[in-house]
């Protein structure tokens, strides 16, 4: 899996009679191993763009390439496989399966991938320790705070070293120490494992880790600069 290319991406939403612009002719190239932050006011299209790149939502028009694959042309099944094997997701609002413990949530993706039991348990425990949740492995999401839940979600997204991590506001519920720790972890994975990160955020501290900062407004890219 490698470079991401978006060409003339458009996405609109209908809300009653109103037509809302989600993405407005987006052209975007992201190379393997980049560390990108998306910023912009609420409603500017950050989540919509992440969903399109991650193959969760199909654009109305335009193309999305990931290496040789036309993401926007994939069927549901292959699209699910692509997400499973190549992308780690941190969603903005809802991330954890309530009937599974923290550790089981982290193991979930690996289990569906078919990673052997012992290996995935070891990886899950390591990563939970890394995000500061040692001792909370057996708690269900309802027994964790918002910030702890978010860290479980991050742990799940990165545990199996995907090619690409799409993180939507991953630090929204975190204090500055935890946020800094998480960003350090992302940075380490980015540098040592060449994992591509695309992170949407309002948080200035998060942006300071970015090597490239993309600004959005009204579904358009209005700024794109290396840092």
């Amino acid at each position: 899996m490698s470079a991401i290319r978006c060409r003339q991406l458009c996405k609109t939403f209908k809300q009653g009679d109103e037509i809302i612009t989600g993405l407005d002719h987006i052209d975007l190239d992201i190379e393997t191993g980049e560390f990108v932050c998306l910023s912009g006011p609420s409603g500017s299209g950050k989540t919509t763009l992440l969903n399109a790149i991650g193959g969760l939502d199909t654009p109305d028009s335009g193309e999305i390439h990931m290496g040789d694959i036309r993401v926007d042309k994939l069927e549901r099944g292959p699209l699910a496989d692509m997400r499973l094997h190549h992308i780690g997701f941190v969603f903005q609002a809802y991330n954890l399966i309530p009937v599974l413990s923290a550790q089981e949530n982290v193991e979930f993706v690996m289990e569906v991938q078919g990673v052997p039991v012992a290996e995935r348990a070891r990886k899950a425990l390591d990563i939970l320790k890394e995000v500061g949740l040692e001792g909370m492995e057996d708690r269900r999401p309802a027994q964790l705070s918002g910030g702890q839940q978010q860290r479980v979600a991050v742990a799940r997204a990165i545990v199996s070293h995907p090619d690409l991590v799409l993180a939507d506001e991953p630090t929204a519920n975190l204090d500055s120490v935890s946020a800094a720790h998480l960003m350090g972890l992302f940075q380490e994975l980015n540098e040592n494992h060449r994992i591509t990160f695309i992170i949407s955020t309002h948080d200035k501290r998060v942006m300071s880790y970015a090597k490239r900062l993309i600004k959005m407004r009204d579904g358009k890219i209005i700024g794109d600069e290396a840092q």
Binding site: A80, L84, I87, Y94, I97, V99, L100
Partner: protein, 413 residues
């Protein structure tokens, strides 16, 4: 393509835990399934018991399992259509191992008269020793005695008939019939026994006398109306039938019970259909609850379904997961229902006394005590129907869930 096999554990975990998420709803649904399955099995065993009883009585009381007679006898049960007492090859076949019991019978229409009343009856000449094993008549004698030999001069009548004739044990009656030359044959008999049958109609019409006595009266020495055979189980008379048929001389007719009493045979054949219909009707009632439960369970976790889809679980696996959840519910319900059926049927093995409502039952040809009959076939049928149809009705809601749009599902509140 990732198969179900490697994902079974995670799917099972999700299904099992989701099942117990809403305890109340699951408990209610389990209650409904188990009571439904119980009703399927319990009622079926009662129905089977009733029909068994009806058939056993019906068959034992007259036709036996197999009859040998003159080809015209069934259409015209007159003394003209008699046959010789069995001999030669047939006698060997009858007495050989494997035939449980057999007896010669004479059956002619007759009139019985007391000093006050007279009635048309079915006069039956029996061989007391052999007959005892076939009809259970000796056990039904409520006053007096059973016939003692083939030459016994007494007669046994039903309690109902005694009432109609305004006569009683020890009194004399006159029985009148015709001999083969159409001459009136009549004789006085002393009532030596009164019997009480489960079926009121029999008490009124069947009158029993000794075989040799009737042969003399009707001038048919050496002849009988029919030979009746009884095997071990009315469901399985084929081999005996073939053996006897092969040994029977030409010109005689051999018939199994289901060709003689077509009403009983139809009853018997319809039973499987009745059971299936009954099981399906109960299932239909259940299916509404099942579908509703499933739809609610899915509705409550649309976001989760969106999430696991977004994370890369294929729609097919989501379908399996929900079907498995439904299957678990069904299997637990079935286990409880089967158990419930077993513990309620076991204590009734000695019979369920329905004498309070038995008058109506006797009319249908059923005794007042039902012995539930639990067969593996019926239990399997109920279980298979519930599992198969249960899964079938779960497919649509499960398929819908698997086709949810992940982004939209994730953003549902």
């Amino acid at each position: 393509m990732t198969g179900l096999g490697s994902h079974f554990k995670i799917i099972l975990t999700l299904s099992w835990r989701n099942l117990w998420r809403n305890h109340r709803r699951t408990a209610i649904m389990l209650g409904a399934i188990s009571v439904g399955v119980w009703a399927m099995i319990f009622m079926t065993s009662l129905m089977r018991g009733m029909v068994d009883d009806m058939l056993n009585q019906g068959i034992r009381n007259l036709p036996g399992h197999i009859q040998i007679q003159h080809p015209d006898f069934l259409d015209d049960p007159s003394v003209v259509n008699s046959i010789g007492e069995p001999g030669g090859e047939l006698l060997t076949a009858l007495t050989q191992n494997g035939t449980r019991s057999w007896a010669n019978r004479i059956r002619v229409p007759a009139v019985i008269a007391s000093e006050r009343e007279s009635r048309g009856i079915n006069l039956i000449g029996i061989e007391p020793a052999a007959e005892a094993d076939i009809t259970g008549l000796p056990a039904q004698i409520s006053a007096g005695r059973f016939l003692e030999s083939n030459q016994d001069k007494g007669v046994i009548i039903g309690a109902k008939l005694a009432e109609r004739l305004e006569t009683r044990l020890g009194k004399r009656v006159v029985i009148m019939s015709q001999d083969p030359d159409n001459n009136i044959a009549e004789r006085g008999f002393r009532i030596v026994g009164i019997y009480q049958a489960e079926l009121a109609a029999q008490e009124e019409f069947n009158v029993f006398a000794a075989r040799a006595t009737l042969q003399k009266l009707l001038k048919i020495e050496g002849l009988v109306s029919q030979i009746v055979l009884v095997d071990h189980d009315y469901r399985d008379v084929e081999s005996l039938y073939r053996r006897v048929e092969a040994a029977t001389p030409d010109g005689l007719e051999v018939k199994p019970w289901y060709e003689i009493d077509t009403y009983l045979a139809a009853m018997f054949n319809l039973m499987d259909g009745f059971v299936l219909v009954w099981v399906i009707i109960i299932f239909l009632a259940l299916s509404f609850g099942l579908v509703n439960t499933l739809v609610m369970a899915i509705f409550e976790r649309v976001r989760e379904i969106g999430l696991i889809q977004a994370l890369g679980m294929r729609p097919g696996l989501i379908l399996y997961q929900i079907l498995l959840e439904s299957l678990l519910l069904l299997l637990i319900g079935l286990a409880l229902g089967n158990l419930l059926a077993l513990v309620t049927i076991k204590p009734l093995e000695s019979g369920l006394d329905l004498s309070a409502v038995a008058e109506g039952m006797a009319m249908m040809g059923v005794g007042s005590v039902i012995y539930p009959s639990l067969t593996l076939y019926d239990v399997l049928l109920a279980n298979v129907v519930v599992v198969l149809l249960g899964i079938l009705t779960s497919i649509l809601p499960a398929w819908r869930a698997s086709q949810l749009d992940p982004v939209r599902a994730l953003n549902t509140h």
